[in-house]
Amino acid sequence: MTRRDIGSSSNPTAGRPPRFIVVIAAAAAIFVVLPLFGLLWRAPWSDLWSLLGRDVVWDALRLSLITSVSATAASILMGVPLAWVLARTSFPGRSLLRALVLLPMILPPVVGGAALLFALGRRGLVGEWLYDTFGILLPFSTAGAIVAATFVAMPFLVISVEAALRSVDRRYEEAAVTLGASRWTVFRRVTLPMIAPSMAAGAALCWARALGEFGATITFAGNLQGRTQTMPLAVFLALENDRGAAIALSLVLVAISLAVLVALRDRWFATP
């Protein structure tokens, strides 16, 4: 008998988990899936097509795609350098900076939205200067909705990329340097390809968070169809006076999210 056989799946009892774990796992799975069935149960199936044909649905879908994709792009542009600085440099206050950068992940989004309003609003800390000098007005604009989504979603990218940068083998970069590559070339040709899978996974999480963003958007950017009313805002407001439309919108969001999960399953979320 080879060493390999010990504890392998050829032993029929080794892979069988304790019964109570299976019971709890089943309960957990039901807990997660049940609300989805609630949505399907209440869905106005017969009116679904006409509900989905409404302007409010298409405006919200279009805005959601614009804001979530833009927020992901902005997060990559700003977040990768930030992750690099956090992972590769050492300076006083780095851990504090790191904590502050990740804060929006756990901050209630409404608080984030209010903070954005006081910082970037027309009477805000920096916003007043932006408005008076350049005429830039972020609240109540699509740009504002993108800013809100970026604020809450970027930490998901930063945390993934930073972890990847810490775990890659530095010897490849050192070898490139000894071969005469500039630091920018090393970053572009050696580091970036090595962290690409983590960056993609981080970008997917970041995009998903931006797509679901509600609290910071409604607090900072307001709610206007075609300008700042993304899918989650449209769902929230439709729940008050048009439940059928709210559920139809929710089903669209569920479908998009599921499609993305399935599409990314093999590439980024490895399953055995």
């Binding site: 009477r123 307001g222 206007l224 439940r243």
Partner: protein
């Protein structure tokens, strides 16, 4: 599954005396969950404080939100004992789902007013300014009482607003005006009064103004119908009205 409304008046075996103390109120205890319109935030805070003072065993928990959102929650079975709506339409939604026909009680009225940031930087003078695309204009969302009433007022004035945001409730709208991020919005007269000096008010002339009506009803999902009835009797009593008047509400 649907919340059912009880005949609060019929079940009240006893009226309220002029001091607003429910005569059956001695010995009331327990927790009462009240769902109240966002524009009642200060009023119901004060009313519940006074009621709790009169009945030391009673604890009142109030969930403030837009009336339409509250009505939706109640219809979905949220555990509310009392519902106070800022309009008749949302009250009707709840009452119509009830098994026993019952009339909710009208307990206050309110008027609309234009709210502007402190000092009125955009020099808003009336509803006419709401059509100005260069101003940042906010209203409550459609479906929310303050949003429906504001649109009625704008209709009466013949103004189609150049809107920048539809806020989910009147307090959210007021917050953005107070922060100076919006130039003007339409809220209740009582909201401008409650904000103290933090926002300014521009009155809406009588011919364009719309009266908001506030209704209250007890729900059969109430754990303690007697307690719910006692609280409602207190709200519609003279003592209750006095508090409401002090905050700028009109009598029923």
């Amino acid at each position: 599954m649907f919340a059912v409304v009880i005949a609060s008046a019929a079940l009240a075996g006893c009226g309220d005396d002029d001091n607003g103390r429910a005569t059956s109120g001695e010995g009331l205890s327990g927790t009462l969950t009240v769902f109240a319109a966002a524009s009642l935030t200060d009023a119901f805070g004060a009313l519940s404080d006074m009621f709790e003072e009169q009945h030391p065993g009673v604890n009142i928990e109030i969930n403030f939100a837009g009336s339409s959102s509250l009505a939706g929650s109640i219809l979905e079975g949220a555990p509310a004992d009392v519902f106070a709506s800022a309009d008749e339409a949302n009250m009707r939604k709840v009452v119509d789902a009830a098994e026993s026909p019952v009339k909710p009680k009208l307990f206050a009225r309110n008027l609309l007013e234009i709210a502007v940031p402190k000092g009125n930087p955009a020099e808003v003078t009336g509803l006419g300014n709401f059509a100005d695309p260069y101003l940042l204009i906010g209203l409550c969302s459609e479906g929310v009482p303050c949003g429906n009433l504001a649109r009625q007022a704008l209709d009466k004035a013949g103004v189609s607003p150049a809107l920048d945001t539809n806020e989910p409730d009147v307090r959210a709208l007021l917050t953005k005006i107070e922060a100076g991020e919006l130039d003007a919005g339409i809220v209740y007269r009582t909201d401008v009064a409650a904000a103290g000096g933090a926002v300014g008010g521009v009155s809406i002339p009588r011919e364009h103004n719309v009266v908001a009506t506030y209704w209250i009803v007890g729900l059969t999902s109430a754990n303690d119908a007697e307690l719910a009835t006692a609280f409602i009797d207190f709200v519609v009593s003279n003592a209750g009205l006095e508090i409401l008047n002090k905050l700028g509400f009109l009598g029923p």
